[in-house]
């Protein structure tokens, strides 16, 4: 089971077209091994319930709630980035820039106008979406490394602009005023956590819904074979614009939570490391999977938090994780259970062989074996 070069090649080849694509609704038959489906739904249900009940246990612990909300915020950005990279095939190492736009829009609008929070939230999303649209105009004509360089430039230009504009508070930034709906204060830990959770759920639902629709198929068509897509009527430039705009929109929504969570928005919060963090979260979690971005973001936030004592350690771990994913587990964290089960199946088969000295047929092509074992998340 040690991945040889060929297997690595094969696995790496599918990096941008993860098997988890199949996880989208509408792309699987309902009758198909109901057992596996129940296992997946069951896990999802447990996760959702745990997430909902979390504040009951930790609600009073401010640092923990801050961390949890940060994890959810970054998770939403990762979901947005995964839409762009995993399903759209467009690379971005500048998403910190979009988060900055969303967060600054939130803080500035909330400071100068007394709009209801929902309006501020939507404005954050829309303004960022517009910036995404504008970036998508030239970016749509760029591929791979050119696009990476352009988004990198975007990601470092935005904080620099923020530093130099009085609107964004220059060096000191903008303080985020409270946001209140009725008696719910969103600048307090527990309500903010639930808001973040709701936004994450919305983001995931939006992505899942999109995937099983013409737009979702068009996205992936552009990702897989941009040259051929027009023959199926796909408007490639429009698809790319849509991808950038949507990805930016959801990142902008995350910016709203970010502003409330940190109470202040200033330029130094959005450096290149942040964009790299989002990038790593998507890759490590599992590119083009449904749960990957969220899992990746949560995992990496925890890693970062636990390694603040030793400078550079968190980056080392993030980097090593990305490298490992590429070389060993292209499906990312969400593909680990499946990999472990494959390993177990192989070990079981080897054991059988040794113990019974009988030649059983080897484990099938991985796909049937893991189905039979009722593997989990995709």
């Amino acid at each position: 089971m040690r991945p040889g070069t060929r297997e690595v090649d094969r696995l790496s080849k599918s990096l941008l077209r993860r098997a988890a694509d199949r996880a989208g609704p509408g792309s699987r038959p309902a009758s198909w091994l109901a057992g596996r489906r129940i296992a997946r739904l069951g896990t999802s249900a447990v996760v959702v319930i745990a997430a909902l009940l979390f504040p009951q246990f930790e609600g009073g612990n401010i640092p923990v709630m801050f961390l949890a909300t940060t994890a959810l915020t970054y998770g939403l950005v990762a979901i947005a980035l995964n839409l762009l990279m995993g399903f759209g095939g467009q690379i971005s190492i500048g998403h910190g820039g979009f988060l900055a736009v969303g967060a600054f829009t939130t803080a500035i609008v909330a400071t100068h106008y007394h709009f209801p929070p929902i309006v501020v939230l939507l404005l954050a999303g829309l303004v960022t979406g517009l910036v995404g649209f504008l970036l998508g105009l030239p970016a749509g004509r760029l591929r791979s490394h050119y696009l990476a360089v352009a988004t990198l430039g975007f990601g470092v230009a935005v904080p620099e602009l923020a530093l130099n504009m009085s609107l964004t508070g220059g060096f000191t930034g903008v303080i985020m005023p409270p946001q209140q709906v009725g008696s719910i204060q969103f600048n307090t830990p527990v309500p903010l956590y639930y808001l973040a959770l709701a936004l994450v759920a919305t983001g995931m639902a939006a992505v899942i819904s999109l995937l099983a629709s013409p737009t979702g198929r068009r996205f992936r068509a552009v990702r897989d074979s941009e040259e051929i897509a027009p023959a199926l009527g796909v408007n490639v430039p429009l698809v790319k614009l849509t991808l950038f705009s949507l990805s930016a929109f959801f990142t902008g929504l995350a910016g709203y939570v970010f502003a409330l969570n940190n109470s202040i928005v200033e330029y130094s919060q959005f450096d290149f490391s942040l964009s790299l963090f989002f990038f790593a979260a998507v890759i490590v979690g599992g590119l083009a999977s449904t749960w990957g971005p969220l899992v990746g973001a949560i995992a990496l936030v925890i890693v970062q938090q636990q390694t603040t004592s030793l400078g550079g350690l968190s980056e080392t771990i993030l980097g090593a994780a990305v490298v490992l994913v590429l070389l060993v587990v292209p499906g990312g964290l969400v593909a680990l259970p499946r990999l472990v089960l494959r390993l177990a199946a192989w070990v079981w088969w080897m054991a059988q062989r040794v113990l019974r000295r009988r030649t059983l047929p080897p484990p099938q092509d991985p796909v049937p074996a893991e189905r039979a074992m009722g593997a989990s998340e995709g």
Binding site: K13, P138, V149, A150, L161, I283, E315, T316, L318, V323
Partner: protein
């Protein structure tokens, strides 16, 4: 007019550094089609080694340089063999993602091993500023610019007029045909990585004094300019790297002098987008054609 010329002269120092960094990127890109986003981080390791050898171990600066750059070449070769080689048959995007992972990894390791305290590396050339009329340029900057031009020429001669250089160009042009002619693609690519990191390491070490100190992340901003230089000059072109680097250095200095020092990165971003929009292959690059 004098101000203009002075600004141009002063821009040659940084221009040379951007050009060298871009040269490092270009060498790697030519043969493996990969933009090595980790080049700056790998270069930082070289600078750290110079510091360690010179300041901690006490070696003379020239020897420290030599050993560190050689180590950089080794590091580049190892990076290719251990990480990049297996991804050769996959889509380019996979290699790009790998270099980004390596960027994180090496920046992190540098921080863990050497810490974040800024360190000092001595200038290569000290001494009084060289003046010509009312224009002045520091010896160090002149050295950097000169080194860049000389290195560019050496590389040019190597590529165009030597047999190994021909082999490299063959691999860059058409790897399969080159292999059929008996040229070892593996060796050429690994050698390119070694050279690319070595040159970038030199660039980084030269940049330390003007960057306010050697830290694990100090190459991040320089890297942006290096990428811009490659975009402007054209990714596979040596001449493009040199010309692009100097142009970026001079233009950013002119803008800083005439207008403001503050929006350099924004300016560079705008430049990148403009070039990619108007002429994606840059000044000297070649347009790629997509076949259906």
């Amino acid at each position: 007019m004098t101000l203009f010329l002075q600004l141009v002269l002063s821009g040659l120092g940084w221009g040379g550094i951007y050009a060298l960094a871009a040269l490092g990127l270009t060498l790697i890109y030519k043969t493996s089609n990969v933009v090595n986003f980790a080049n700056g981080a790998l270069a930082t390791v070289v600078s750290m080694l110079v510091w360690t050898l010179h300041t901690s171990v006490g070696m003379p600066i020239a020897l420290s340089w030599l050993l560190a750059v050689a180590a950089g070449a080794l590091l580049g070769a190892l990076t290719d063999v251990m990480f990049m080689r297996r991804l050769r048959s996959a889509a380019i995007i996979v290699s790009i993602v790998m270099t980004l992972g390596l960027l994180l990894l090496f920046e992190g390791l540098t921080g863990v091993i050497w810490g974040f305290e800024p360190k000092a590396v001595p200038l290569v050339l000290n001494g009084p500023v060289i003046t010509y009329g009312s224009l002045a340029i520091s010896r160090n900057n002149l050295f950097i610019a000169g080194l860049t031009v000389v290195l560019g020429l050496v590389l040019y001669v190597f590529y165009e007029h030597t047999r190994p250089g021909l082999a490299v160009r063959a691999v860059a042009e058409d790897p399969e045909v080159a292999m059929l002619m008996g040229i070892s693609r593996r060796r050429v690519v690994t050698a390119s990585w070694a050279a690319g990191v070595a040159i970038a390491g030199a660039a980084a070490t030269l940049a330390v004094p003007a960057s306010g100190g050697l830290t694990p992340t100090f190459m991040e901003s320089i890297a942006v300019y290096a990428f811009a230089a490659s975009v402007l000059g054209g990714f596979g072109s040596l001449l493009g790297a040199v010309v692009g680097g100097f142009l970026i250095g001079i233009v950013t200095n002119l803008v800083a002098g005439y207008w403001s020092n503050n929006l350099q990165l924004t300016l560079v971003f705008a430049l990148i987008v403009a070039v990619l929009y108007i002429r994606p292959e840059g000044l000297f690059g070649r347009r790629a054609r997509v076949r259906v």
